[in-house]
């Protein structure tokens, strides 16, 4: 409980540092210009019988595409402390390693959600204006929290934890490869993949399980009906993995600190 205030402080500072970075906004928004150029061809068409299915398709795309930027933009957050030589200074503060790590994770991940939310809301506004149906807005926000925020918290946990061990450039390559492997690879190709499982990070099961009215074409790699329980299970598994990897990073950093103290 004594570490709650330092954790909140770390969270607040990391959030503000990340949200003010031009790199965050440029990295996320630059390719979106290309995306919105053909937005109407993809989402404002008669292909979708209802506004909810159009929203679901847009949310699914955002959940597949933007966590890449989030994961890459969060990969330098831990390494930055070493590069700016503040890590040694932070060790001397009364804040524990865990509070600093967790505050950094939550703060910078939530800040990375902000530009994605902006892009998502622009898309939602265009869809709702096309259908002239503002009643779907609460569901659109619910989808964003359940699917998109979960996805970013999942990749953010790995980006911060893995770069405590790995060189950020190596991690970034592995992360892009992982994202392709876990979200776009056909499971029938002969290569084991997370695609089509409850651990699919783009949240196919969460979307189909918790918001069944949004699904037009049931995902190619899962059955025609996803029960609510499987949606909840997928969400809990993704967040559970994020917490587990943060816990592992905390243990590793505490052990390393302990070793340094004994030298």
């Amino acid at each position: 409980m004594a570490q709650l205030r330092p954790l909140c402080g770390a969270l607040r500072f990391e959030f503000l540092m990340q949200v003010r970075r031009p790199a965050l906004w440029i990295g996320t928004l630059l390719l979106s210009l290309f995306l919105f150029k053909s937005f109407s061809d993809f989402y404002l068409t008669a292909r979708y019988p209802t506004v909810y299915q159009s929203l679901g398709s847009w949310a699914g795309f955002v959940a597949r595409f933007f966590p890449i930027a989030a994961g890459l933009l969060l990969a330098d957050r831990y390494a930055r402390d070493g590069k700016t030589r503040v890590d040694a200074l932070l060790v001397t503060s009364p804040t524990s390693t865990g509070a600093r790590l967790f505050g950094k994770y939550i703060g910078s991940s939530l800040a990375t959600v902000v530009p994605v939310l902006v892009i998502y809301l622009v898309g939602i506004t265009l869809i709702l204006a096309y259908w002239r149906d503002a009643a779907a807005l609460p569901e659109a926000l619910g989808i964003f929290i359940a699917v998109n925020v979960t996805g970013i918290l999942f990749v953010g946990a790995f980006s911060i934890a893995c770069t405590t061990v790995l060189w950020p450039v190596l991690y970034q390559f592995l992360f892009i490869g992982y994202w392709f492997w876990a979200n776009f690879l056909n499971p029938h190709l002969g290569i084991p993949t997370l695609d089509g499982t409850l651990l699919t990070p783009s949240g196919d099961f969460i979307l189909a399980g918790l918001f069944p009215d949004t699904v037009l074409n049931i995902g190619a790699y899962h059955g025609p009906h996803i029960p609510v329980a499987q949606g909840v299970e997928s969400l809990a598994l993704l967040l559970g993995c994020a917490l587990a990897v943060q816990g592992a990073a905390w243990g590793w950093l505490a052990w390393r600190q302990n070793q340094q103290n004994h030298q």
């Binding site: 790199a23 930027a69 450039v169 390559f173 490869g177 392709f180």
Partner: protein, 247 residues
């Protein structure tokens, strides 16, 4: 002329990661290609079909795997040196040092890809129906394009991480929007992974349908890579701009 000891020092500064990353990419893609080979045989496919599927995996390694790794490395290499201010006060120009580092990294990435391509050709897994040596533009062009893009974005945006994020999103977008690229007369000319997406529909027999577009695509991308590297080299000489980069 750079002395031998300075060269050794610069290579050490590049780090072991820059040396190992291209090799790691080859190992990862090779592993996945072998898995596809085994998976195809298990699903009852013929050995020839399994070999063909593996060859497609090796083509993916050469065209998109090596290029992404090289682009991310280039984005990291041109990021301002921690001793930038000190370096700017030295008689050796900062641009010369950074161009040397970028060159060394590029030569290594290209050497790994060239050795891989040589083995692929030697083991009869080369499936691009274009005469040698022109066929080697399959990997040479996207690697140079990604190196140019990675370096240029880091210098223009003054941020390595923004550059990496855009490279990563562009890499995934090139798969996600492949139909948009392939069906647009303009975008198909600048699509770095054209070979991989044209296969298996292209053969020597139907060359009039695709050959000219493929060659045009490779040379346009090559020209873009040269242009991007030239602009990057000019930006490396703008000392005041370099000093305000993001940490």
């Amino acid at each position: 002329m750079m002395s031998l000891s300075r060269m050794r020092y610069e290579l050490r500064l590049l780090g072991i990661g820059a040396v190992l990353l291209p090799l790691g990419v080859v190992a990862i893609y090779l592993g996945f290609s072998l898995m596809v080979h085994v998976g195809t045989l298990r699903q009852g496919g013929s050995p020839d079909w399994a070999d063909y599927q593996m060859a497609r995996g090796l083509l993916a390694l050469l065209e998109n795997g090596c290029s992404l790794a090289a682009g991310l490395l280039a984005a990291a290499v041109v990021h301002p040196d921690p001793m930038l201010e000190t370096h700017l006060s030295l008689p050796t120009s900062y641009r010369a040092t950074m161009c040397w580092r970028l060159g060394a990294m590029s030569v290594w990435a290209l050497a790994v890809a060239a050795a891989t391509a040589w083995i692929v050709v030697g083991t009869d897994h080369w499936i691009v129906p274009v005469d040698q040596p022109l066929a080697q533009l399959t990997w040479l062009t996207p690697i140079l394009w990604y190196i140019g893009l990675g370096a240029l974005l880091t210098l223009l945006l003054r941020s390595r991480v923004a550059s990496s994020a855009i490279l990563g999103m562009a890499w995934i977008a090139q798969f996600l929007f492949k139909n948009t690229f392939l069906h647009s007369q303009t975008l198909v000319r600048v699509y770095p992974f054209l070979t991989e997406e044209l296969i298996p529909g292209i053969t020597r027999a139907n060359a009039p349908l695709w050959y000219a577009a493929w060659v045009q695509n490779r040379f346009i991308l090559l020209a873009m890579a040269v242009a991007m590297l030239t602009v990057a080299s000019i930006l490396l000489g703008r000392n005041e701009a370099l000093l305000s980069a993001e940490s």
